[in-house]
């Protein structure tokens, strides 16, 4: 399997707080990688550093063997990464369809002529993009909400829309930051199927989660962080048996 993303000695310090410390990990093509760890273990920081939102204090990030450390977010995204957020971040005043169209930003190249001298929405590139977005919305069961303002959607649909928007950029890797937060068991089960389906379509998926049932159920491989350090890596069965993981979650047994 090819390594899509590889980090070397990746560290991020905030003042004295070592949010990430010397993390070495890889994301392999077409896997589902779970990232777990107790609160404040540095999971979100890991996403933020890999995608260029934070500059690492030390260390490097490679994408397909090319170093992307210090690149701006949008240029990292251009390489083929897309993400969702722990606290949903939609374009609240825009319609559902336009949210997904923004996700296609890097795919649409209408040019000045089409922008200024065609009726809005009538250009060839626009029509193609719209069709693609509608089929994405259909896949997520949102096609009937296409013209609604996204800020008014119910919570579960917002989560789905965020994933749809991320997929619209046709990324190689999809990063999901706590996708099941605030969901009931039924919704979570549906989400698991959805993630699995996305993975089967050929997307590599990285999931940060607190929901162990979800993460153990869908991940091919799991990375465990604690206090900014990687303490374990392996398949779900191995992680469940790992002493240091149990210790991180439950604390050390006193003698």
């Amino acid at each position: 399997m090819t390594e899509l993303v590889k980090t070397e000695d990746l560290s991020k310090h905030f003042g004295g707080v070592k949010a990430l410390e010397a993390v070495e990990m890889t994301i392999r093509e077409s896997e589902i990688l779970g990232v777990i760890g107790p609160n404040g273990a540095g999971k979100s920081t890991l996403f933020n550093v890999i995608t260029g939102f934070y500059q690492p204090t030390r260390g490097k990030v490679f994408y397909n063997g090319v170093e992307v450390t210090g690149h701006r977010v949008d240029s990292v995204v251009d390489k083929g990464l897309a993400r969702t957020f722990q606290n949903i971040r939609l374009f609240d005043q825009m319609t559902v369809l336009n949210n997904v169209l923004v996700g296609m930003h890097l795919q649409i190249h209408p040019g000045i002529m089409e922008t200024l001298f065609r009726d809005p929405g009538k250009g060839q590139k626009e029509i193609e993009a719209r069709d693609k977005c509608m089929s994405l919305l259909k896949y997520f069961g949102l096609e009937k909400d296409a013209t609604l303002v996204s800020g008014n959607l119910p919570y579960g649909k917002k989560r789905k829309l965020e994933i749809a928007r991320a997929l619209a950029s046709d990324p190689k890797i999809l990063l999901l930051d706590e996708p099941s937060a605030g969901m009931n068991p039924n919704e979570t089960a549906e989400l698991m199927q959805l993630i699995d389906g996305i993975n089967r379509k050929g997307y590599t998926v990285v999931v940060i989660e607190h929901n162990m049932k979800l993460i153990m159920g869908i991940s091919h491989r799991i990375v465990v962080l604690n206090f900014g350090k990687k303490i374990a890596e392996g398949d779900p069965a191995a992680i469940q048996a790992d002493a240091s993981v149990i210790e991180a979650y439950l604390g050390k047994e006193e003698d």
């Binding site: 905030f14 979100s44 933020n48 939102f53 957020f85 722990q86 606290n87 971040r89």
Partner: protein, 290 residues
């Protein structure tokens, strides 16, 4: 000559510091770009002027002016800012612009655009050291500015309300959960901001022996912004340092370059400054979270 410019710059800078402090206090806590700051305290200064012309004792008139500034800001906060507190950035800023225009036009309606003498009977004498003239007035201004700064810092650090203010500046929901009375505390912040502004404004009037409509926006709000740009928006220390640097800069520019273009040059310097240090000298320490 250079030393003289330095001293003039320092004393005008300390007035700016008082104005900028009131401004930045509100900013640091609520992130409201308070357009109305200058025009609100100008109302307080004019109220003091009104009392002075009626023959009220200067000390009483000044006290009354400070209270007016405090009270107006309480009302403005309650009526205009509270309803839009959680509506993003653009909305409250525009509301503040609206308040600024209401206040300014109220002053224009009552007092008109003329410049009035502002005489509280304190005559500064001049001390001479070599060729340098230092007015005793300038020394008083510096002393008042410094004691206000120390007072505010102590208030924030040592009192319960002060700690509440700091908690609110970190996170309103968390502060509310911890039992900080959010609305009342925010009102107090605005009130103090207004009162500090009036103190600065009145010192300004005393320094120049006169008062006119421009002390609000042109000489107040705008200078407070300039000071904040230099020092870092939302930082109390930054506001003071920025204001003093601004005073020095102005005094140097008008002394050595051009009086006519003073404002334009100072703004251009600031725009250039933003290019180099987009967050000011002392940026408020906020880690961007997602």
């Amino acid at each position: 000559m250079l030393l003289q410019h330095l001293i003039n710059g320092l004393s005008i800078g300390s007035i700016y510091a008082l104005i900028a402090m009131g401004y930045n206090m509100v900013y640091g806590i609520l992130e409201l770009l308070n357009f109305a700051h200058g025009d609100v305290y100008a109302v307080g200064c004019f109220a003091a002027l009104g009392l002075l012309t009626m023959g009220v004792h200067p000390a009483l008139a000044i006290m009354a002016g400070i209270i007016v500034g405090f009270v107006i800001n309480l009302f403005v906060e309650k009526l205009a800012y509270r309803p839009v507190r959680y509506s993003g950035r653009v909305t409250p800023t525009i509301t503040a612009v609206g308040i600024a225009y209401i206040m300014r036009n109220a002053i224009l309606k009552i007092w008109g655009p003329e410049t009035f003498a502002f005489d509280i009977g304190v005559r500064g004498s001049n001390l001479q050291f070599g060729g340098i003239i230092i007015g005793t007035l300038q020394i008083y201004i510096l002393l008042i500015a410094v004691s206000c700064m120390i007072g505010i810092t102590l208030y924030l650090k040592k009192t319960k309300t002060g700690q509440g203010i700091i908690a609110i500046s970190q996170s309103i929901p968390t502060a509310a959960l911890m039992g900080v009375p959010v609305n009342r505390t925010i009102s107090i912040v605005y009130g103090i901001g207004g009162a500090l502004g009036v103190i600065g404004g009145i010192l300004f009037c005393i320094y120049y022996d006169s008062i006119f409509i421009g002390i609000g926006f042109a000489l107040g709000t705008i200078k407070a912004w300039m000071a904040s740009i230099i020092g870092g928006v939302g930082s109390l220390k930054g506001a003071v340092m920025g204001a003093i640097m601004l005073g020095l800069m102005e005094s140097m520019v008008s002394g050595y370059v051009s009086t006519l273009y003073k404002d334009a040059i100072v703004w251009l310097l600031l725009i250039a400054f933003v290019l180099i240090k987009p967050q000011g000298l002392f940026p408020a320490q906020v880690a961007e979270k997602i």
